[in-house]
């Protein structure tokens, strides 16, 4: 029996390995935006400072830290949930590491414990969101205040320095080394991105994350434990935050209690700019990578152009609003046939 209902064709180029060509298009356009911004800032920053090796190295390192977290946040958003607490958890994990390390705990062990702490926080958020069915943005908004408050309380608001001479190996691996010109942090983010891209595109659990966010009931009907998937994504965010907190510590060699302030919004912005839908089920990891690049470029670029930092708030506000609207329009245009 032939299907003769005419199909008004939305953009559905054949599947060539990534999930759906539209995701590729979106990550491509985000890449283009990033490239344009890169060129703009290189040309227009005072003294063309942006493109100098000094600035680029710092930029790539900070972008990498941000990017790793943005990737995890993006995966969580694909699964249909949000985490607004990442900035506070970053500070909390940062403090955890500093305390452990100053108390004499071995560097590598302290790193692992810090990552575990991050995972535990993620687990906490995940369980409450999923089991008690509280909207994730409320749970993590509460978490944002909770973990920041605990961090401030525990640290007394004081900064604390780190002595990194004792762990040259670890320091090099996460903080200090460079491969040629590229700082090691950037190598990490690229590696992690490739890994996550592969996982989400080719692994069955990646498919489960997508369908959980796309149609949770369908996933459950097909026997997928959506609760576990979502909780796993929350834990993933926690792990990423734990890891990056140490990375950042190594780079700055000081702990500040205000670390990560505003990180959560930037991470969501990065994901949205990269094509992740707020409703879940749609998103490309490559897009999130480039989205993080775009956001970092804007941050760094605004600073270099001597634009007072408060304008970054307004710019980000506009970016968030317009990105989500844009995502919705693109999605609506895709759906020509019911």
């Amino acid at each position: 029996m032939s299907d003769s209902a005419p199909v008004k064709s939305p953009d559905t180029r054949p599947n060539r390995g990534f999930i759906g060509s539209l995701r590729r298009t979106r990550s491509l356009s985000t890449f283009i935006i990033a490239a344009i911004l890169f060129v703009l800032f290189s040309v227009f920053s005072p003294g063309k400072y942006f493109a100098t090796p000094d600035n680029l190295q710092i930029f790539l390192a900070t972008e990498a830290e941000f990017g790793i977290i943005a990737l995890a946040v993006g995966v969580l958003m694909i699964a249909g949930e949000f985490d607004l607490s990442v900035g506070s958890v970053l500070a909390f994990c940062s403090l955890t590491f500093v305390r452990l390390f100053s108390a004499g705990v071995n560097g590598v062990l302290a790193l692992f414990i810090t990552i575990l702490v991050g995972a535990a926080v993620g687990l906490f958020h995940g369980i409450i969101t999923v089991k008690a069915q509280i909207p994730s943005f409320i749970t993590t908004l509460g978490g944002l205040m909770l973990w920041r408050g605990i961090t401030l309380f525990w640290s007394g608001g004081q900064q604390q320095g780190l002595e990194l001479e004792n762990i040259p190996g670890l320091y090099a691996a996460i903080g200090g080394a460079k491969i040629g010109f590229v700082p090691i942090q950037f190598v990490w983010v690229v590696g992690i991105t490739l890994l996550v891209v592969f996982f989400m595109s080719y692994h069955k659990l990646g498919n489960w994350v997508y369908v959980t966010g796309d149609n949770k009931l369908a996933a459950r009907a097909m026997g997928i434990n959506t609760d576990r998937i979502k909780i796993a994504c929350f834990v993933l965010v926690g792990v990423a935050v734990g890891f990056v907190s140490v990375m950042q510590l190594f780079r700055a060699s000081t702990f500040t209690a205000r670390a990560g302030d505003g990180l959560e919004l930037s991470a969501v912005a990065a994901a949205v700019v990269g094509g992740t839908a707020l409703s879940g089920g749609i998103g490309s990891i490559a897009g999130v990578f480039w989205g993080a690049m775009v956001i970092s470029l804007i941050e760094n670029g605004l600073v270099l152009m001597r634009i007072p930092y408060w304008w970054t708030f307004t710019v980000f506000g506009l970016i968030i609003i317009f990105s989500v609207i844009l995502s919705k329009i693109i999605e609506a245009r895709r759906m020509s046939v019911g």
Binding site: L146, G156, L265, V268, P308, W310, F313, F316
Partner: protein
């Protein structure tokens, strides 16, 4: 009865007694059935905290006049805003931008003082700022149909940037333009008989007004229904977009009132007025039994919830806990009560 008024349905305030089979009733204890009333749970918590703080603060300073006076002066800042935020939550949306609306209105107010316009006009314009910002949020949310918490986070950042840019983050005192004793000050931050802060009366006044609106009028019913089942509300001809926009404007206006009140009270504008309020307001609403999903809540609950949150903050300071810890506590309280509300409602609407 005037048109538009009708007796409140009990289900707005309380969760009705569950239908229980004969033998089960005997097993239900009175306490457990009373707990089915969401507001009474909030009341219980409130009273419990009152007792705890009174007992544990050094020299029992909690329930004494100076402290109560301070509470009565400060709680309305949060409370008036929380009323608006809570009602918005009942119709199913969130506003995370109040931490920008409050200082922005304060800023406009002070700037206008500097230009010497009559106070009455100043008041009106300041309220209009609230209207505009609320309208912006409302239109954005209803036109784009996107999650309000993301959109209002965006507007929060947007306005914050503008505010910081315009004010250079410097505080601005009002005394150079407004000598003490003006009618505006007396109206909003005066102290009656030397003892009772007028802000408290404003808080109660707004609460009563909004309670009547929400629980007794047709429009109030529309708010509940829009939050509970928007599709059904639309099908019944209710303009849900308008309901939401009006609620957002309401939040904006209330924020403007509070922004101005704060400014008059501390006698200056500061850029970090209202910081942290967005979560505290949601916390107040949640503690007061407002559902995060929309469609359920009460003004009485929000009122008590605000007092509870403010009391916690106040009590913790008296107990000697450092200020840092309070934010943590508020965060924990929101999570705790959101979970509790879920279980209470699951229990009582069997």
């Amino acid at each position: 009865m005037p048109a538009g008024f009708r007796l409140p349905e009990p289900s707005r305030f309380f969760i009705p007694h569950p239908e229980i089979e004969g033998s089960a009733v005997a097993r239900q204890r009175l306490i457990v059935r009373l707990l089915a009333y969401k507001v009474s749970f909030t009341l219980l918590v409130f009273i419990a905290l009152l007792v705890i703080f009174q007992v544990f603060t050094p020299n029992h300073t909690f329930f004494q006049r100076p402290n109560l006076f301070a509470l009565a002066r400060l709680a309305p800042d949060l409370g008036i805003v929380a009323l608006g935020v809570g009602i918005l939550m009942i119709c199913g949306e969130f506003d995370l931008s109040i931490a920008s609306t409050i200082p922005m209105s304060s800023f406009v107010f002070v700037k206008l003082l500097g230009t010497g316009v009559p106070l009455g006009l100043n008041l009106v314009v300041t309220l209009c700022v609230g209207v505009i910002m609320g309208l912006g949020n409302g239109l954005l949310v209803t036109r784009t149909r996107l999650p309000s918490f993301i959109l209002t986070l965006g507007t929060m950042l947007f306005w914050k940037g503008l505010l910081y840019a315009a004010s250079r983050m410097m505080p601005i005192g009002i005394r150079s333009w407004l000598p003490a004793g003006s009618w505006l000050e007396n109206m909003f931050v005066g102290i009656i008989g030397g003892v009772f802060p007028i802000q408290a009366i404003w808080f109660v006044g707004f609460a009563v007004l909004l309670a009547v609106m929400l629980h007794f009028t047709k429009f109030g019913n529309w708010i509940f229904v829009t939050g509970d089942n928007e599709t059904a509300a639309r099908a019944m001809g209710i303009n849900t977009n308008l309901v939401k926009i009006i609620s957002y404007v309401g939040v904006g206006v209330l924020c403007a009132v509070v922004g101005m009140m704060q400014c008059l009270r501390i006698e200056s504008f500061t850029a970090n007025q209202g910081v942290g309020f967005e979560l505290k307001a949601i916390a107040s609403a949640v503690v007061g039994g407002t559902s995060l999903m929309g469609g359920m809540g009460s003004v009485l609950g929000i009122f008590l919830g605000t007092l509870t949150i403010q009391m916690i903050e106040n009590g913790m300071i008296l107990l000697g806990l450092p200020a840092f810890g309070i934010g943590a506590f508020i965060g924990a309280v929101v999570i705790l009560f959101a979970v509790l509300n879920k279980y209470i409602s699951r229990f009582s609407t069997r």
